[in-house]
Amino acid sequence: MSESTVTDSHCHTEHPEKPHPVQPVTTDMTELIIDGAGCASCVGKIEGALNAVAGVKHAEMNFAQRTVSVSGTASHDDLIRAVEGAGYNAKVSSAESDADEMDEKEQADLAYYKKLMRETWIALALGAPLMVYALVTGEMSVNTTTERIVWLIIGILTLGVLLVSGRHFFVGAWKSFLNHSANMDTLIALGTGTAWLYSMVVVFFPEAVPAQARHVYFEATAIIIGLIDLGLALEIKARGRTSEAIKRLIGLQAKTARVIRDDQEMDLPIEHVLLDDLVRARPGEKIPVDGEVTEGHTAIDESMLTGEPMPVEKAKGDEVVAGTLNKTGSIVFRATRVGKDTALAQIINMVKRAQNSKPPIGRLADVISAYFVPVVMIIAVVSALAWLNFGPTPAIAFAIVSATTVLIIACPCALGLATPMSVMVGVGKAAEAGVLIRNGEALQTASKITAMILDKTGTITLGAPKVTDIFVAPGFSEQNVLQLAASVEAGSEHPLALAIMESAKEENVELLKTSTFNAITARGVEATVNDQTILFGNEKLMHERSIALVIGDEDFVEKAQGLASEAKTPMYFAIDGQLAGIIAVADPIKEDSISAIQRLQKNGIRVVMLTGDNRDTAKAVAEKAGITEFMAEVLPEDKAKKVQELQMAGEVVGMTGDGINDAPALALANVGFAIGTGTDVAIESADITLMRGSLHGLADAIAVSKATLRNIKQNLFGAFIYNVAGVPVAAGILYPVLGILMNPVIAGAAMAFSSLTVVSNANRLRLFKAQEH
């Protein structure tokens, strides 16, 4: 929605602190959009007309915005009538949803399509019979008085076609001319205008041109206008298909929400849902806004946003996301994000912006487009002069035909459309696979990635470690070690600490009070619990504190190495200077990480794993995941260094992380991939966000970007070749050798369908299957 059309009509009537009404209240403020107000003096007229309406308290116009805010109780119809009575048009502005906007756009496109088709039929109704006549008889010349009269009538009819079906080209060309710019309209208006004017000169002053050149081109004029209108109409239809992905996303938005206020449930439009409202979602209903479950439990299908096919269990305290589908149970949740703040609205916004952005590959086409039309006009003049100077008789006819054909065949649109249409489809296709691409540049760079750095925890692994083994030294019990370990780690957010806490909870272990706590970087922690000094950490920490790791004939280092070789992370635990045991935690590799890594490697991408974990565990995880290159015991800042190191070695580096700890490395990488937790898309440091946890998202993102870039290259190549080959042929370059001069009608058909071809080729991307696993 355009920023300026948002009204505050909903905001001031429903204050969160006041008791909520059962039904949505009506507003006493209306915003009208005014059409036809061209000068500042209109303001007084419109305000006066509205202030005179019964029930209006105050009307104030914002001339810049062409909007009027009207307070009072007058009906919308009365207000609109008053504005119309003052000589302007008005309509009520409303806080529209993306779906409303999309509907309006589709209706506007449909109306424009129908208008173009009407104009096409009108032009072809005259042009086609003339064309057939010309082909059958070959008689399009003016030699007798009768012929002059007949052609004059046809000339006037053709003028009608130019005015009705071709008006928009001529108006656009004139406005552009006054603006010192030139566009496709300029070329078509000049081409068809030249053909018609020349024909009329032949009709009115046949003696002014040589006998052999007394040829009229009314059929070409009408047919060209008809064909180009047809091409534009078909292009609109094809363009509509390029935005299917965004339509699908918008279609996920629910229109109403069942809100509970004052113990009463009511269906309200989603725009009326306020923050902290309680909302009920029954089985089979879409979640209307983002929220946190307060009651009930259910399974929710989030596949439409994340691409993850399995429904996700939700209970009290869990987040639910707008646009997802409640499958099994009835839940009540508290609205935490509404309107444009919901994850879905942000995703839609991000996809829209990315679809409108251009990758660097399109820059050359942009530079060419900027000079294209005037250059074609110059070529047309040069071509006409060449024919007049060196062409055979009748030189004037050849000059007119070549200049017209050059103007008509040149197609700046195909060049201009080549990149954006493919980006539109490619970004949408990626979004369907749960991959959010920030902009065109990220899309292009992702296609060139040669090395991919993967963070281990949460990227390759589930990021939810579990305690797998506890080995205790003589004189200590598992229960005791777990209790002290959990007490030390209580309050820590570290994934390993959470695993120990979870295990203590499962064993119903009571936590003890920790009196001192000291985190030792890259080593572990030191704490005091019940007057006992606890050391909990890696082998380095134990060596530094001279803790014996071999007790009797039990070698705990050997045990730790054995655990690490199974991809588990062992941590030593010492009480009052004596080793009490080892706790091993394992973070299982995600089910599909191995196949996703294989996909990346098959595409020739060098996969590197980084982890802060110890070398043995890292090695075991890397081996399991099929990764040969890894770095263990890496600090967050070292990740950025590794990115740089690979870049120095000539690699185009992708970095995948959780977007928080890895922010510097993500920012430094050529493409930063953030793995979203569920549907959290607020990851600003990433170029590409994967909405699901699977690494297949990476392979999908790279596959989509490669396919899109391939498509853009095809389009650009086609558009360049079309113009580079078409314009000289139209100018008559083949005539001296082969005796061929292109017919302007053929040029018109080629031009009309060149941009349609580009859009259709971009649409082929819709068939691309991102997931090949």
């Binding site: 810049a64 062409r66 603006n179 829209k352 005037p374």
Partner: protein, 121 residues
């Protein structure tokens, strides 16, 4: 024939001057928002003058049903906005350094420039 050739050369010179060399007068941004109407293949006004380091909003009103008019891009500012038909859309322009900032549709058929010059206001 000489006259025709001279006329042709003059025509080429006029094309170069009119479309490339001529610098049209830019519309100065005042205190109120400027409304740029998108219609008939052009932005009106298409040349906008802004003061150095002065943030401003420009409202675009698209009246042209052609899908070409739908997208407004200001590449140097990384702005890319979809313009709904017959509805004003406000685009916030941040404070800019002196220079010319092109804005255009996706295909660069609709073109305009924001020229930033002068001292800070």
């Amino acid at each position: 024939m000489l006259i025709v050739n001279i006329a042709g050369v003059i025509l080429i010179a006029l094309i170069i001057w009119w479309f490339w060399l001529y610098k049209p007068k830019a519309e100065q941004l005042g205190d109120d928002d400027l409304v740029v109407v998108v219609e008939n293949g052009v932005y009106t006004p298409s040349h906008i003058l802004m003061k150095l380091n002065d943030a401003h909003a420009i409202t675009f009103l698209r009246k042209d049903a052609s899908p070409c008019a739908e997208t407004l891009m200001i590449p140097q500012l990384e702005i890319s906005e979809t313009l709904p038909l017959n509805k004003p859309t406000k685009i916030q322009i941040p404070p800019l350094n002196s220079g010319e900032y092109a804005f255009h549709c996706q295909m660069q058929m609709y073109k305009g420039t924001i020229k930033v010059e002068g001292g800070a206001s």
